[in-house]
């Protein structure tokens, strides 16, 4: 009973603080405009400094990735002297799929087949859902196409409506990983030597991904107490999607780059890798929660008494930008996808409950980790709303009601200076984003690059609409106790409003 109450309080806290930030600005402007202006000024200064701090980390992370990405990692691992040899390591690549077109999975496997790593050390698990009609046949055809390339391809079909599960990616991945364990035990392959890369169906690893992953796996002294996180780059279909979708996804990539620099706080996100031994020890991904990718980290963190970390890989994985057949649909899909990501706020509840039960972990650690999650979530849900919506509102409305106020005048002035300073951040973003652009399709004119520059003007709008708003929505739903189902982002590419035709002849 008490646990239920604590859980409820934890569910309320993030939204409470997010709304508190927003309401404080609005209410103080209504009753004490001068106070609201001062508050806003402090907030803008804080965010400007924070943005510059993050920009420095972004540049360092980017330079590090650029420097190391193209090293001959295969050669490096071959020369490594370690308790475990590189050729003993088996990579299991898990693709939980649901309704993704066969062509998309085929393209992902083609990319997998193109990596600089012996394919006989890579096995593929195609994890389908029973809920999808004809899935076995679809995955069977794909398996046939690639059967001779990899060590093996296993197909698993996750039964629907298993007790204690919600229909979500985590449940499917867990089911597939359990089948993998059965398979490996049958083949007498030690779980300690297997590294599982849990990919999205559209994930295409960089050619050095496995060599780099193997390097980190072999060299990290506590290899079973670590997750491995590549940099997710959303660029597979970048030339085919609207600017606002490109911008928000580039923001996600940048955020992961920045986070990779704060490694003591770094948490797994989206496609990631982990030792199968560890995965078994923590009882796999959560099956009853939505944000499986980050929760797996916290499960491990608790299991290993906080002696667990996420290692940033030096190579990216490339994924699709979620998009629909028109701008409106893209907006809708992006919103729902970002809301699903923001449902990661449930990590705060998960961790809070577990910290409450755990009497051994130091209180300072508990407070610091909970604060880290709360800070991330509250800032995510509020910063763009405050900066892009509330700030212009206060300046505009203030100009009508308190035109002669020096502090308001100075707020406009500071806002102006900050906007100019942020141009520097935008230019930096343009330069770094250029790095992630795949080669331009030949049929596209070079003029498309103009839109890749101008798109950054959408940042204030996009960051509020597809950044903070979905996060606030997710937190509010959690606060109100509304159950949210897992949103499967539709994957598939469109050309002129129609699903793009890719060679389906398998």
């Amino acid at each position: 009973m008490e646990e239920k109450k604590i859980k409820r309080v934890l569910e309320i806290i993030p939204a409470f603080f997010s709304w508190l930030v927003i309401i404080t600005f609005v209410v103080s402007f209504a009753f004490w405009p001068r106070g609201a202006v001062i508050l806003l000024m402090v907030y803008l200064i804080y965010w400007t400094l924070r943005l510059f701090y993050m920009s420095i980390l972004l540049v360092i992370a980017h330079l590090r990735m650029r420097r190391k990405r193209d090293w001959d990692w295969e050669k490096i691992i071959r020369s490594l002297k370690s308790s475990l040899q590189w050729d003993e390591v088996i990579h299991a690549v898990l693709y939980p799929v649901y309704r993704e077109p066969a062509s998309l999975i085929v393209e992902s496997l083609q990319a997998l087949a193109g990596v600089n790593y012996p394919k006989n050390k890579i096995m593929v698990i195609l994890a389908g859902e029973e809920r999808e009609r004809g899935i076995e046949e679809k995955l069977g055809r794909i398996k046939n196409k690639f059967k001779d390339i990899f060590f093996d391809i296993i197909i698993t079909i996750h039964p629907k409506d298993l007790e204690g599960e919600i229909p979500a990616k985590g449940a499917n991945s867990t089911y597939a990983a359990k089948k993998l364990v059965e398979y490996l035990r049958e083949k007498k392959i030690a779980l300690e030597k297997v590294v599982v890369s849990c990919f999205d169906a559209d994930t295409r690893p960089h050619r050095n991904y496995f060599a780099n992953l193997t390097y980190h796996f072999l060299t990290y002294p506590k290899r079973y107490q670590a997750s491995f996180q590549p940099i997710p780059v959303y660029s597979n279909n970048i030339y085919k999607v609207p600017a606002l979708a490109r911008i928000i996804e580039m923001g996600s990539t940048f955020w992961q780059l920045v986070e990779s620099m704060r490694y003591e706080k770094f948490v797994t996100f989206s496609s990631h890798a982990i030792s199968l031994k560890t995965l078994v020890e923590v009882d796999f991904w959560p099956v009853d929660l939505i944000s499986d990718d980050s929760l797996i980290f916290w499960k491990c963190f608790l299991k290993f008494r906080s002696d667990y970390r996420t290692l940033a890989l030096d190579v990216p994985v490339y994924m699709d930008i979620a998009a629909g057949k028109n701008l409106w649909e893209t907006l809708k899909i992006q919103y729902l996808q970002k809301r699903r990501w923001a449902q990661g706020v449930e990590n705060f509840v998960f961790l809070g409950i577990n910290f409450w039960k755990d009497k051994e972990l130091p209180l300072s650690l508990k407070i610091s980790k909970l604060y880290q999650l709360l800070d991330n979530n509250v800032n995510w849900a509020t910063w763009a709303i405050v900066i892009s919506i509330i700030s212009p509102f206060i300046i505009t409305a203030g100009n009508l009601t308190m035109k002669d106020s020096l502090v308001l005048f100075n707020l406009s002035y500071i806002n102006n200076i900050i906007s100019h300073a942020l141009v520097f951040v935008i230019v930096l973003s343009i330069l770094i984003s250029w790095e992630f652009l795949p080669p331009r399709p030949l049929h596209l004119s070079r003029l498309i690059y103009i839109s890749f520059i101008l798109q950054w003007l959408l940042i204030p709008l996009v960051s509020a609409l597809l950044g903070s708003l979905p996060a606030l929505d997710a937190q509010t739903r959690l606060m109100l106790g509304r159950n949210v189902s897992f949103y499967y982002t539709p994957k598939g590419r469109y050309k002129e409003g129609k699903r793009e035709k890719v060679d389906l002849t398998l």
């Binding site: 001062i38 000024m41 980390l57 060299t219 620099m261 002669d404 100075n410």
Partner: protein, 305 residues
Amino acid sequence: MKNKEDNSFLAFRRFLFWIFVASFFIFTPLILLHSLGYKFDKKHKIFVKTGAVFIKTTPAKAVIYWKGERLKNLSPCILRDILPGEYKLRMEKKNFYPYSLILKIKPSEVKTVEVTLLPKIKGFDKADVECNVYKFFYTRHFFREKILLFTSCGLYTLSPDFGSIHHIGRWSLGAAVLSSIVGLRENNQTIIFWSHNAAWRITKTTKSRSEILPELIYKTNEKINDIFFALEGRYIIVWDGLNIIALDSRFPQAKFNLYQLKSVNAMVFYSSGSDTLYIKDKISSNHYSLFETKLSRLIYGREKN
């Protein structure tokens, strides 16, 4: 290897983090104090509250004079950290009439000055006068001719060629009063001006160093047609509707009726040189005639009575 690399980077990142934290805690209060108008007065070692002025001209890039000194910045520009008080601001641009005004700066306030400069018209000079001009009167006193200018910033005297300009002082008369002024008389010590139903007087005693406090000397429900100085300024004669009234200069509230006119179409003229009052008035139903009398006789006779 990894731990060593990690630790050195962590140290660098922590250093960077604390630099930003320190920047926040150092710069935020300074920016806030500055934004709220506080300025440190080195001389008195205290914080003083200041104001600012935002100057915008059309066309832009006008030269700005602040307290008579030319500023480096052209318009539009903002002047900050200004201590509360009154300041003279002047904007000049080639081929445009200059524009000057007196600004009152209050603490924590931004005064916005938006001025459209008028292009110079060939052959026309503009009086270089601050603020809004409501009325002007051309006066001749002995051999000296001048223009008296009633503005929102006070009273000015100008030489007829605009060559010299003198600000006599500010006042608190509002736009309604200033717009209603219809006449003015001046002698050595005094200026009297009037609207249709009130008259004010400015003397040395009603004027401080920078401020003029016009004295209301007469009020009526009729209509003031004219006012004269009489008997070397000892009396003020008011032609008010059908009445000719004398006010004692020393005590204007002491007034008495000199003459009752018969017609609204009557005319009155006073020659101070000969002390003669000329009156055109009705003598029968359709007939008017001209009369003359010595004003001194009229006044002293009345006083005796």
